[in-house]
Structure formats: C-alpha cells, structure tokens
C-alpha cells in the first residue's frame, strides 16, 4: 500500500492582480490560493489512497505565515502536511524549491508515489517535478491523465500529441498530473473545519542547505494588446478595405 505525497505551491490568485499605470502590476490587495493543477495532484493522491490504500500527505515550501494553504490542502482529504518553511522562502525559483523539497523529503518522509501538478499557476515552469525526481534519483512521468497502482508498479496514461502513451515504472516514482486527470472536490464544511485538527509537521529552513537563486527578476509588466481602433463599414467597399488592411498587416 503506497505512501503518497502530493506537493503544492501557495500562489497569488491572479484574479486579484490589478494592472496599474504604465502596465505595472498592483499586488497590494492580492489573495492566495493553492496553485490550480496542484489541486489535481492533491485530489489524485486522495483518490489513489481511497482506491489502493496506503497513506496520503501533502508537502509545501513557503513562508511561516502561509498556514492558510496548509488548512486548505488538508481540507481536501490528506491526513497530514509537511511544511518546509523559512522567512526567506518567498519568490523561490523552481531549482530552489526542488532542492529544498528533495532534502526535506530524503531521510525524513516515507514515499512511494510523489505527485505534482504539471506546472504552477504563476510561473508554469514545469520544473519542480522533474528536478525533484532527479534529486531523489527516482523515475519521473510527466503530464499523467490516469494513474493505476499494480503490485510495486504504477501504470500511467499520458496524452501525447497524436495519441495516448501508457508507461510503467517501479515505485518509488514521481508523477506530474494534467488538469484533466480529475475534478478536484469542493471541501464540505466539516472537512474545512476538521483541517485545523490534522497534524502539520514543520521542517525549518535552518535544517536544510539553502540554494541561492540563479535568476533575477528585473521587471514584471502586464501583457497588453495594442489595438489600432480602425472601423470598417459592413458594405462591399468596407469589406474590401478590411481585407486589404489585413493583407497589408500580414494577418491573412
């Protein structure tokens, strides 16, 4: 019966980001959420446990105050949470997150299946899963749309460009999941309130070897679409003018 560990990232909810003057991003009034596809990873962990037994836990790396994310994750069914935290753990890049997580998991947390979302809602770098697998020296299967457990193996379906690929790997294994693998549950009231009573195991940043960042963010701006604002009439002449304009722009 597998020990399942689902990873999640606590990210800014993009719905709250406002665009300020000169396309600056206004993050003053943002709220946070579990990264969208990580909800699929948590849900899949719980579904696998319901089907194949074993245990399911979640793990996240973040700042000590990010406790709401732990409650949110635990309200979705896992039994306990591992919280790798330090005041310096903000805006980590994927290599740092993967490195911290690998060190925290190694020797501390039993695992047979590690689940990640295919990418995060904010950066969508799709890096943490494969990097974590590499550091733990276990097989990695990305973009899973179905997972089955048989004996000591996992059987995973992945959607590829022109079909479906079925791969098999021995446990322990890391799998990143696509959003079509399941529909994350909406926690009921008692799940929500019961989350606070589930154990959270803290792993302090000071216990781990921090890795320095390799990337530097110079500027963040909102995407903008320049519109020329030209209007064309619906008659024959107007349509002709529209087609000519589109040809001139190279749009058709």
């Amino acid at each position: 019966m597998p020990n399942i560990l689902s990873c999640f990232k606590w990210v800014i909810d993009e719905a709250y980001i406002k665009t300020g003057p000169s396309l600056k991003l206004d993050m003053n009034f943002v709220d946070y959420k579990i990264s969208d596809y990580d909800k699929n990873a948590i849900e899949e962990g719980v579904l696998l446990q319901e089907k194949f037994g074993g245990s399911v836990a979640v793990i996240t790396v973040g700042k000590p105050e990010d406790t709401k994310g732990l409650k949110d994750a635990l309200s979705r069914g896992p039994e306990k949470a591992y919280f790798v935290n330090d005041t310096s753990f903000s805006d980590l890049e994927p290599s740092q997150t993967a490195s911290l997580m690998a060190e925290a998991i190694h020797d501390r947390i039993p695992f047979d299946i590690i689940l990640c979302g295919e990418g995060s809602s904010d950066l969508y770098a799709q890096q943490v899963g494969p990097r974590l697998a590499e550091k733990l020296d276990i097989p990695c299967i990305c973009y899973a749309s179905k997972i089955q457990v048989q004996d000591n193996q996992v059987l995973v379906e992945r959607k590829v460009d022109d079909g479906l690929e079925v791969v098999q790997a021995p446990m322990p294994v890391l799998i990143t999941v696509s959003p079509d693998i399941n529909i994350p549950r909406i926690p009921g009231l008692k799940d929500t309130l019961g989350a606070s009573k589930k154990p959270v195991i803290e792993i302090a940043g000071s216990e781990l070897n921090a890795v320095s960042a390799r990337l530097e963010t110079i500027e963040t701006r909102a995407a903008s679409l320049e519109r020329s604002g030209r209007k064309f009439s619906g008659d024959q002449a107007g349509i002709k003018a529209l087609v000519e304009a589109l040809l001139k722009e190279g749009a058709i």
């Binding site: 409650k71 949110d72 309200s75 909406i186 009921g188 009231l189 008692k190 929500t192 309130l193 606070s196």
Partner: protein
C-alpha cells in the same frame, strides 16, 4: 479590535463560493423562472454539512460560530437569494428553536436530521390575521390527555410544502393571549390533521416555496411541546432575533451580487465611444453601492459577533436586518438602472435580484417591525 476573519472563516467563504458557483449558478435562473424547489442542491448542502452549521456536532451540526454561518449565507445568496433563504430559514427559524429550547430527545429525534440528515425545517408562525400583530394569533392547542389538539391556519410558511419538520405556534391558553398563552410544537410531516394549503406565487425568491399550513384536529403528543407551555412568544421572538442575522447576510449577498454584476456590465457596455464605467454618473452609483455593501457586511457581522460572545444582540440584529434590507433594495434598483433596458429584461441577473431584494424588507419582521424593536431599545 480585529476585522480579520480567521483562516477557517476565509476557507468557509471560499468553499461555499465554490459550491455555489458549481451547483447553484448554473440553475439559479431556471429555478426562479419555474419556481422550482432545488431539492438536489439542498440535499447536497445537507450532506456536505452546511444545513446545521451553528449547532453542536453531537447532533450532526458543525459547531461553528454565528459569524461563520452568516458568511456562508451571504455567499450562497450571492448566487441565489432563494436558496440562501431556504438555508437561512431552515437553520435559524426551524432548527434554532429545537436546539435552543428542545430537550435531549427532541434534539436527537428532530434536530439531528435537520443538521445532516437531508431533512428540511419550516417555521409556522404567521397567520392570516396575525402578521406583525402577533397578539392576534388564533391557532389553538387544546390539551387532551397526553396530547394536544391543534386547530387553525398558518400562512406564508417558508419551506411549507417541502418541510419534513414544522415548528408550529399555537395558543395553549386563549385567555392569557399570545404573550403568556402561546406555545411552540414540533410537528413531523405526515401527521394526520396537518395539511399544506395554498402555494403562494411570489414576485421574488421564487425557488423558495411558501404555503399555508392548515391544522384541523391535528393531534400532537405532549413530548412534542418545545420548552413548556406559555413560552411560545419568547421562543418566536428569540428565533427572529438570530434569524434576522441570516436575513441581513442574505441581503448583503443580494447587494454584493448587484454590485458585481454592475461593475462587470459597466466595464463592457460601450456608449458614446467608451465604456459607461468611464462616466462619473455610473462611477458614483458604483462607489455608493460598494460603500454600503461594506457597511452592511460589518453590521451583520457585528450582530453575529455579539451573539457569539454571549452578549445582547437583539437591537443590533434588528439594525443589521433593517439597514441591509433597505440597502439591498436601493442597490438592486441601481443595478437595474446601470443595466438600462437590458436590466429590465429576463436573462440578466439584476432583474431577478431586484425582485428577490423586496422580500428582505418584509419577512422575519418588516422594516417597520425592526424600527419598533430598535426604538423600543433606544428609547428605554
């Protein structure tokens, strides 16, 4: 002084929002149009623990405070005021008297199924001749051995046609009148002598079902008396006190929905070559709406917080209900104004919001009755 919700309260809001978005938004217009009771949604709410929020967990409730409960009512009402009201009247007025005045046996037998057993509750108090004038009640409960025999007609009973359990008020002592002679009874559906009368065709909250309840020689064992004889009016008034917090929260949900719809429409509706949100006339309406929605939210949360602290809250609950009800009517009307002709037509949510808003000024005590309560408190 702390205006911050707890992490649990924020998650309750988030999860109720998610629930409402998934299960209620897609059917809200249809159940309004067809005046259909959304039984599947209510059963799902019950299974997920939302129908007995403030009551103890040993009876299937969730043991939340009233602030958390009111937040959930607001969120659900944002999607559908009728569904939010069904939850609110069930929790506050029907389950409330059983948990606050019932004995152990009554809480187990009738309270628990209301919390998580999928059972729906109704509160039969109003009579054709006794609305705000509760003293004019004429339904009687005559003692007959180990039983009471109830006779009379109740009207405007919310959840009346769908309820499994009714809390019914009747005079056990006609000479003493309502103030000392009224008593409350629990009556399960299907009891001989209890009949659902006329279904009312309402202007708003049409998915919530409202009917007459007709009692004709309805024999109720004395075990179904709530508390003791003669405290019916106290039970009813106490129930209205906390029920009003739910209605205030429902009204804020309607107003917030009116605001959300107005903001999104004003940003995309172009007139004179620019979105109408660029016009000061529209901006000021939206600024007023946002301000008053926030004020209303603070009012219901304050009343709920007082209740949670075990402090007197009847005046504040009446103030919250009065203000939020009138506020949501002003802003549902403004939201239609911002939408112009489109807002007056079916298909735009604001049309439903305006019809739904009106009832908040009428039920669980009219705005005038709230002013009576408030004046009685401040002029004392």
């Amino acid at each position: 002084m702390d205006f911050k919700l707890t992490e649990e309260q924020e998650l309750v809001r988030q999860n109720m929002r998610e629930f409402a978005k998934t299960y209620v938004d897609p059917i809200a217009a249809e159940i309004d149009e067809n005046s259909r009771y959304p039984e599947e949604v209510i059963k799902r709410l019950s299974a997920m623990g939302w129908m007995g929020m403030p009551y103890p967990s040993e009876y299937g409730g969730a043991g939340t405070d009233y602030v958390t409960y009111a937040i959930a009512v607001e969120e659900l009402s944002k999607s559908c005021a009728a569904t939010g009201f069904t939850m609110s009247v069930h929790t506050g007025l029907a389950a409330g008297p059983i948990f606050y005045y019932g004995n152990e046996e009554q809480k187990k037998k009738y309270g628990a199924p209301l919390c998580n057993g999928g059972a729906l509750g109704a509160f039969a108090f109003t009579e054709p001749g006794a609305g705000t004038d509760v003293g004019a009640a004429t339904t009687t409960a005559d003692k007959d051995g180990d039983a009471y025999i109830l006779n009379g007609t109740k009207t405007f009973t919310s959840n009346g046609p769908n309820a499994d359990t009714y809390v019914v008020f009747a005079l056990t002592d006609k000479a003493a009148g309502a103030s000392k002679g009224l008593s409350a009874f629990i009556i399960p559906k299907g009891t001989p002598g209890l009949r659902v009368g006329e279904h009312f065709k309402k202007m708003g909250i049409r998915a919530s079902q409202t009917s007459e309840i007709i009692l004709k020689d309805c024999r109720i064992p004395k075990e179904n008396l709530l508390g003791q004889e003669g405290i019916g009016l106290k039970i009813a008034m106490g129930s209205f006190d906390h029920g009003r917090i739910g209605i205030a929260a429902q009204a804020v949900g309607i107003a917030q929905a009116a605001l959300d719809e107005s903001i999104s429409y004003a940003k995309q509706r172009v007139q004179f070559g620019k979105p109408i949100s660029k016009n000061q006339a529209i901006q000021w309406m939206i600024a007023d709406m946002a301000t008053e929605v926030q004020a209303g939210r603070f009012m219901y949360m304050y009343a709920a917080w007082l209740k949670d602290q075990g402090l007197p809250f009847a005046k504040e609950a009446a103030m919250a209900k009065l203000w939020c009800a009138e506020m949501c009517n002003r802003h549902a009307s403004k939201a239609v104004q911002i939408h112009g002709g489109y807002g007056y037509c079916k298909g735009f949510k604001v049309e439903r919001l305006l019809r739904d808003a009106k009832i908040t000024e009428i039920y669980e005590g009219t705005s005038e009755a709230q002013r009576m309560v408030i004046a009685g408190n401040v002029l004392r």
